[in-house]
């Protein structure tokens, strides 16, 4: 009987598919929902403890919560504008940069309160940044692993926390102020609304600001942390925060979190931007106080369930990936988010250390055998553009300054390279290992195409699908990768590597230089490239950096450690946030995190029948 039902379902489903009705424009529904429901596809939210998030632990889970945290905690705001990054005031109303590019002074917005009523001031920011330092086991590289600050004079330990705890941050005692205003420390306060960052090396605005608008610049309530037992130890964080979310200053606050299930938000009554004028909101949509009282973000891992929720109206907005993308495209009632300037880096990375991908000619052969157009067509639905990395086109002048052409598929050329390398028609080459995470359907699709392409020039590819934990286990810093070169395998897919922070140096640091902390799975290093990347932290002169990059890129082109495939327009490479345009009129996406996160800014959601701000 079940068999009969199944057959009926198949026939029904097929019939349904074949008869997807031509989309008919319907009248907008005037009812405005009171509750906004979003189906989110992100990796399950496993632990709420934001101290883990601050530590960037455990990877990659920390990302999950951060995405919607931008609505709760707010930092600086940045936008891509005409090929450059523009920074807009938010919690910092203005800033001054010293001539040598080493001192940054921020003037903070006055009268801002956290959603629990605690006041926001420079002391809060100070505690938060030294919190990073403490949680990184007093490492100087606490900002994205870069040694930005000279921490030799810093003595931030239990004694300091004890003093702060006694004093409180709203009106610090002289004892506490003496520490927080100590100018021998790289970060110090000057009064309640002024904070100074002194860098060890010159760092152009675009680089340092890019970091502050990233996830380590999100400002939470440090007073709340001190009130509830502090940090704990770096390897044993205060478990209180497993169940209690830090208050923030954003337009929404977190009401409830059910791990792996949903997060409920509601409007923050203490939001400082509640009285902002229309013009101010228009200038920076992220400050919008929000239009709907309550928001629920569901975590749903299955694309089918998200699509069902969207199609049945149980969710207003859902992340739809490649599985159901065709249905979205065929239905005019659905709108979706797409980048104007894509930021995700999609590439096939070749291990430059192990045989045979350590041979440049073999790598060039591979780079010329891959059918890039078919990958764009079949994996990314044609919504992608070719590029030559490491930077993606949204970095404007920092993108491909030498105007080098991306590798093109040319089987003859590829075969010639192989022959020159001494492996005519792949003879003598072992099977190349291509490892992908189990359950990564898009990666699998990508991998099968690459497998077939390389098969055409006689290179056998073995796809291994491993647990995500095992995939990531051998990957780390350049040195770490070198030690685990065999485990990394010959080929790796970057199915959408997004920048960690919004700075042109990000992709360079991650992918190419031997200073890489993560992401250089090709284990590539070259003196020329190192020299060029060093410029990022040595000079504030943009032109000088760009000239160096030109030289480095040419070197990379010839070495071919990576076959750059494309950068996608869809928000999630092979899919995007989709909403029913009969219900939702418009929505903005996080400008701070372009490429980093996938989250819609639900304070900017405007329903059909509602007035735009």
């Amino acid at each position: 009987m079940v068999a009969v039902v199944v057959i009926a379902v198949i026939i029904g489903g097929t019939a349904y598919y074949l008869s997807i009705p031509p989309p008919t424009p319907t009248k907008p529904q005037p009812t405005i929902p009171k509750l906004l429901v979003i189906d989110h596809n992100m990796y399950p939210i496993t632990s709420l403890n934001q101290l883990l998030d601050i530590q960037m632990l455990p990877w990659p889970n920390y990302m999950a919560f951060t995405h919607f945290q931008t609505l709760v905690s707010v930092n600086l705001t940045s936008y891509f504008k005409e090929g450059r990054i523009e920074f807009l005031p938010c919690l910092a109303t203005s800033w001054e940069i010293s001539e040598d590019g080493k001192t940054y002074i921020f003037h903070l917005r006055e009268g801002v309160k956290f959603d629990n009523g605690d006041p926001f001031n420079s002391y809060n920011v100070w505690v938060q940044f030294y919190g990073f330092y403490w949680l990184a086991s007093n490492g100087s590289n606490f900002m994205y692993g870069l040694s930005l600050f000279d921490v030799r004079n810093v003595e931030y330990g239990p004694a300091t926390v004890e003093i702060l705890n006694r004093s409180g941050l709203a009106n610090p005692t002289t004892e506490a102020l003496a520490i927080m205003e100590d100018k021998s420390w790289p970060i110090y306060c000057e009064g309640p609304y002024k904070i100074v960052f002194r860098l060890a090396v010159p760092f152009a605005k675009e680089f340092f600001f890019g970091m502050l608008t990233g996830h380590q610049g999100l400002l939470y309530d440090a007073q709340y942390l001190l009130d509830h037992g502090g940090y704990g130890e770096p390897a044993n964080l205060n478990p209180y925060f497993n169940e209690h979310v830090f208050p923030g200053t954003g337009p929404y606050k977190v009401d409830e979190v059910a791990v792996n299930s949903y997060v409920k938000f509601s409007k923050n009554p203490n939001y400082w931007g509640n009285q902002l004028s229309k013009a101010e909101i228009k200038a920076n949509a992220m400050l919008d106080p929000g239009h709907v009282d309550q928001v629920v973000v569901n975590t749903k891992l299955d694309d089918f369930t998200r699509y069902t929720d969207l199609a049945t109206g149980q969710a207003h907005m859902a992340a739809i990936l490649s599985e159901n993308w065709r249905l979205v495209k065929a239905n005019l009632n659905f709108s979706y988010a797409a980048f104007e300037t894509p930021a995700r880096n999609i590439a096939v990375v070749m291990n430059t250390v192990i045989f045979p991908t350590n041979i440049t000619k073999v790598r060039l052969a591979i780079a010329h055998a891959i059918d890039y157009d078919r990958i764009i067509e079949q994996v990314y639905f044609g919504q992608a553009v070719r590029y030559f990395g490491p930077n993606t086109p949204n970095y404007g002048t920092f993108y491909n300054p030498g105007k080098l052409p991306p590798y093109q598929r040319d089987l003859d050329k590829a075969r010639r390279y192989l022959e020159e390398a001494g492996f005519p028609n792949g003879k003598g080459l072992p099977s190349l290992e291509l490892k992908i995470g189990s359950g990564d359907t898009i990666g699998m699709l990508f991998a099968t195409i690459v497998q077939e392409n390389l098969g055409e020039i006689g290179i056998d590819v073995k796809i291994l699908s491993l647990l995500p934990a095992l995939i990531n286990a051998p990957v780390g810093s350049y040195q770490f990768n070198l030690e685990h070169a065999e485990e990394i395998g010959h080929l790796r897919l970057n199915g959408g590597y997004a920048p960690d922070f919004l700075s042109p140096s990000n992709f360079w640091l991650a992918f190419v230089s031997n200073r890489s902390l993560w992401g250089n799975t090709g284990i590539y290093s070259s003196p020329k490239v190192e020299w060029a990347v060093d410029k990022f932290s040595q000079t504030a002169n943009t032109a000088e950096i760009i000239e160096a990059l030109k030289i480095a890129e040419e070197q990379i082109w010839n070495d071919a450690p990576i076959a750059w495939v494309c950068t996608t327009k869809l928000w999630m490479t092979a899919g995007s946030y989709v909403w029913d345009n009969r219900i939702v009129k418009s929505v903005e996406f996080d400008p701070n995190w372009t490429g980093v996160t996938d989250s819609p800014l639900f304070n900017t959601v405007i329903f059909v029948g509602e007035e735009s701000p």
């Binding site: 079940v2 039902v5 496993t46 632990s47 792996n260």
Partner: protein
């Protein structure tokens, strides 16, 4: 042997079994080549080697395996199943939170199994080798022969997508107020609170996962009940009951069914094993936050403590269910001694 000494003996055996399970699972999970700290900390391990070192010391990862096992066993005896990296919490706490959810669907699945299995088993026996019997057989075979994940997928397609009567997953709808956590069983909590909206909603969420489990399960019951009824109907005491002048209905319900249900008790252990095993598939498809869901996540991230803890808890459950089933069997069938 008295019932008490039997229970004590079985408990000792259970201890032995649990120790064996812990040893096997521990050895296996720790035999994985990947460095657990790196698998867990990933990127941060190379950014902050100090943190990685702190974690290694905290979890004794630099000690030899047998020492680690010793720490583990001592911890388990104190009720500490270890620290779950993926959740940033203690395994025992996470299991305490998720196990009621799983038990909820297992309970409903058992209810459905009985509700489907007993009447169909009886019908199957009454219409032995006639078309209703064949029909029922086709139905239950289709159920027990379809993998749980496939049944779940078909149900989802049918009830959520086409009929749109049941939610696609989760444990409670977002617009419904969640009841205060008292017992941990959300349905029971809704009931205790008198929160009808939540009660209806949570039951709706439980229906499909339990249905997926029950469909794969009830067939064993039908099969057993049918053959056991057929056997019982041939027995002499049923003939005696008939000879007494009892109506066929009374004979069947009072004399035959009661006896035929006795072996069903022993099936309970098998069913629990099956249900618990299938929960990992079903809970994942329905995004139902139970232990199976947690296990899948733990497996994907090599969260040793969680894998070990869940295996131990499941084994304990199975051992206990077996014990209860054996005792119940003797209660129901006085002729059998322990």
């Amino acid at each position: 042997m008295s019932r008490l000494s039997y229970v004590v003996r079985r408990m000792l055996l259970a201890m032995f079994v649990l120790f064996g399970v812990a040893l096997i699972t521990f050895t296996l999970t720790h035999a994985i080549s990947a460095n657990p700290v790196v698998a867990f900390l990933g990127k941060a391990a190379s950014i902050h080697p100090e943190i990685a070192q702190a974690y290694i010391e905290r979890f004794h990862l630099n000690e030899p395996l047998y020492i680690q096992f010793w720490y583990y066993i001592v911890g388990v005896l104190r009720g500490d199943l270890g620290y779950s990296w993926t959740r940033g919490a203690y395994v025992s706490n996470v299991i305490a939170q998720t196990l009621p959810n799983t038990l909820q669907i297992v309970f409903f699945a058992l209810l459905m199994t009985l509700a489907l299995g007993i009447p169909l088993g009886i019908l199957s026996c009454r219409y032995y080798n006639r078309s209703p019997d064949h029909g029922i057989r086709a139905f239950y075979l289709a159920g027990i022969c379809s993998p749980a994940f496939f049944v779940a997928l078909v149900l989802l397609l049918l009830f959520s997508y086409f009929l749109r009567v049941l939610p696609t997953g989760g444990i409670i709808s977002v617009e419904v107020a969640r009841p205060q956590r008292v017992t941990g069983f959300i349905i029971l909590d809704s009931l205790l609170e008198g929160n009808w909206a939540a009660l209806v909603d949570t039951v709706k969420h439980v229906l499909m996962p339990s249905m997926a489990l029950a469909l794969g399960n009830f067939g064993y019951l039908v099969r057993l009940l049918r053959s056991s009824l057929l056997e019982v109907m041939q027995t002499n005491y049923v003939r005696t009951a008939r000879a007494k002048g009892l109506s066929e209905r009374t004979v069947f319900l009072k004399h035959a069914l009661r006896n035929a249900l006795v072996p069903v008790v022993t099936l309970a252990a098998l069913m629990t094993m099956w249900l618990v095993g299938s929960a990992i598939f079903v809970e994942n498809i329905f995004a139902y936050p139970g232990v199976g869901h947690y296990l899948a996540q733990a497996l994907g991230n090599l969260d040793y403590a969680a894998i070990l803890g869940i295996t131990l808890v499941f084994t304990t459950m199975i051992v206990l269910v077996n014990l209860v089933a054996d005792i119940l069997y003797t209660v129901l069938n006085p002729a059998i001694e322990l």
